[in-house]
Symmetry: C2
Subunit: 477 residues, 2 copies
């Protein structure tokens, strides 16, 4: 089974209507992080409901309760749970996207009005908040549905949709909903695979499929000594200074060449298989891409594989800053009374936040004891998130691969991302099925930045990709 | 020659008038750091001029020019240069004090109105901004003058006064004036010794004479890498992180037991003589005093001498903070693009800011090279101040010692302070004579804090002390 040409032809011939649809969606400023825009988030939910309903989809709004934002108690936008098809002979695919966006003001540095989809003819791209994150992909699915309905083509799979309106603001309430709806007899139960279109290619050239994300363990290490800040002239050389203890401890966490010094951390890392190694070899991504994104020639190595693995399959430890110390410009001769270093580890399988917390606590406690300091030390694990890796050989991924090859005439990069997309883990755990991250946009789309954009070809080919994926996944092999 | 009893009797019998005088001075809110109070600083200068003139002193205001404060260009308060007596057979003593004060608002946490001298009968002390810093001592000199004039007693020395109105705000313009006025034929030329009453006893029990102050070298160590802040998920493990480099370098400056790791720093320290060591042994000051001031049991050693020498005659290095890193509460997963560590060394003879800067630059540069980092490092010496030590056996100090013994029936502590009083160095260098720091107040006066106070006995005995000192110094032996 492969995607019928009437479907792909319809998509190719209806660019104007699809752009109009995206334009209408971008015009609704559904900013979830600002109470002033909450009505627009609801408006966006209604807009999606209308679109889906018109195409024969059954749509339910799930009330996620209330939240406190900007000092007001306000209603959370609904999770949109929708479905079409219930043929027991077809696989059931769950599609996730989000309909809220990051804040944007023209005065932030936008060249165009952020909530107006503006075509840049020279670069063949569309500017607008949400164009790539995540309204473009969400509407891609609607376009695909329309192409089937308008051409009288039966969908090759049963579809379920989970579209949320709080992704940019912590996905409040969604985890609980997913757990609840995954129970036997509930909406998500029996889903065969999940497809999330909410990330980006590694670069601007090659499509990718993402099969892994790093987890996180974030720590706050507090050293307290004197009852108040002290003058370094009066007390320097007489007392244990908390900053000296803290800096000493922080220096024992990671080396300048990024080696983590906490014993046991690397022992938990799953061994590299030749198959996985081959995926890094094949990636269309190099040192120069990393350095271009960073804006400086500061890659840790000249070995591409080492740098890519450093981001995708190795843990890392970053020192973020210090709370309580002197941070302003100028010269203040203070001995701060209590200082808290912030650092976090990015986790990879088979690391877990629980195991990492144990290792970090044991190590930091032991290193602090070695200092023989009379100050007090406290280590807090502020939050943690599990890493996630899926099987890139699963039929779900192979379907996405074939679809990419059909549309782009290119083998996609199989990537793991360094950051987190928590919803991925939520689905993976609750449903215990394969989750593929199938991005529409490019690495330079500027998702959370000013002048967010989606290339015209990514929107149109991306829509073809999503449609083709549904037909390939129907083969389940 | 010793102070005549009619002078000391006059002081003992005129407490009410002296308190009235201090009360009048405290009522003028001569805050130099706030443009809104500048007229009050001038008012304070006029008040002093009237007091001195009434007692036969010749008073000149020295215009120090203008400054920019709070966005306004305003006139600096004058330096008050005044003198009485020009007998070639008498030594000439220069007295320094300042007539400006730190800001104070009742809402800062004062129990009483800060610009009202309030007597606390229970504790036998006076509360008020400037009571101890430095209006009490300044008025002490005026009281002493009055006691001589009103009893028809000829002063045993020639007196010169340098009273400034910008001490709490960087003593703007004063250094240049001192240099200029120290030239042959000018006002300060030919001064035999200097007495500054603007510091405090070590404790609340024993008067002290201060013969040394530490200097300062303040550094800013900047590490820059990426062109902008990076996301630790995306970049952690792929690039050289400026924070890791900075923390590593800062950890190589000083150990948790306060040993400075910069080679050459200790080699510059003047050796300890048995005479100097004996002064520390004799001090009425211990570990518990240090820990009480710090508010915690965090002294570096249980050895009193070691702790005292750590403050008074050893260099120290404090890490103050980091500019450019994450410093707020919460958990931000940022890799800061450019971070600047602030640290400073307190210097002792024979260290100088110039020599220390060389040592620090050489060491930090060499340590940074060892990191093999692709980030950039810059070290700036933000400012420096020379250390100062005078000879406690000089007749100027011995006179202050005899005066203290006469008034307090106690041998004073001979102390060196850990911080800086830059004016001391200015006089010492420009005039090349002995400078004694002869405090009036106690270690718990809270000079720059809320509820600044001066004990009644310190004000009255302090006035006796200043008067007695003039007679002892007249002996010049």
């Amino acid at each position: 089974m492969s995607v019928p040409s009437k479907v792909t032809d319809y998509i190719a011939q209806n660019e104007a209507a699809f752009v109009k649809r995206l334009s209408d969606a971008v015009a609704i400023p559904s900013v979830s992080g600002d109470a002033a825009y909450r009505q627009d988030v609801f408006k966006m939910a209604d807009w999606i409901k209308n679109e889906l309903t018109a195409l024969g989809v059954t749509v339910n709004f799930k009330d996620l309760g209330k939240q406190v934002l900007d000092g007001q108690t306000i209603q959370l936008p609904p999770a949109i749970l929708a479905s079409i098809g219930s043929d027991a002979n077809k696989p059931t695919v769950l599609l996730y996207a989000h309909y809220d966006v990051q804040p944007a003001l023209k005065s932030d540095g936008w060249n165009t009005e952020p909530f107006e989809l503006v075509f840049d003819e020279k670069n063949d791209r569309y500017y607008g908040r949400g164009s790539t994150d995540d309204k473009g992909p969400l509407i891609g699915w609607i376009n695909v549905l329309e192409a089937h309905v308008k051409t009288g083509t039966e969908l090759p799979v049963n579809l379920k949709f989970c579209f949320e309106g709080m992704e940019e603001s912590g996905s409040e309430g969604l985890d609980e909903l997913i757990l609840e709806e995954s129970k036997p007899g509930k909406f998500l139960h029996g889903v065969d695979c999940v497809c999330i279109s909410d990330n980006y290619w590694l670069n601007t050239r090659t499509p990718c499929l993402t099969y892994g994300l790093r987890g996180l363990s974030y720590f706050k290490l507090t050293i307290s000594g004197p009852a108040r800040d002290l003058h370094s002239g009066v007390f320097g050389g007489t007392v244990h200074e908390p900053m000296t203890d803290l800096i000493t401890l922080m220096s024992k966490l990671v080396t300048p060449d990024a080696k983590i010094l906490i014993p046991g951390v690397y022992e938990l890392v799953a061994p590299l298989t030749p198959q996985e190694k081959a995926l890094y070899d094949a990636l269309d991504y190099g040192i120069s891409d990393v350095e271009q994104s960073a804006g400086a020639k500061i890659a840790l190595s000249d070995d591409k594989i080492k740098v890519l693995m450093g981001r995708m399959r190795e843990p890392s430890l970053s020192l973020h800053g210090i709370e309580g110390a002197f941070y302003s410009p100028g010269a203040k001769t203070v001995i701060p009374a209590s200082v808290a270093g912030k650092f976090s580890l990015r986790l990879v399988p088979n690391q877990t936040p629980d195991k990492i917390e144990q290792l970090v606590k044991a190590y930091v406690t032991s290193e602090f004891q070695k200092l023989n300091s009379k100050n007090k030390m406290e280590l807090e694990h502020l939050h943690g998130g599990e890493p996630w890796v899926d099987d890139p050989n699963h039929w779900n991924f192979q379907a996405a691969k074939r679809a990419t090859e059909a549309v782009y005439k290119k083998t996609p990069d199989f990537t793991r991302e360094g950051g987190s997309i928590p919803i991925t883990i939520s689905f993976s755990r609750a449903l215990n099925v394969s989750v593929v991250l199938l991005p529409m946009g490019r690495g330079d789309d500027g998702a959370h930045s000013t002048n967010e954009k989606l290339d015209r070809s990514n929107y149109l080919k991306g829509t073809q990709l999503l449609g083709t994926y549904l037909w390939e996944v129907a083969n389940k092999k």
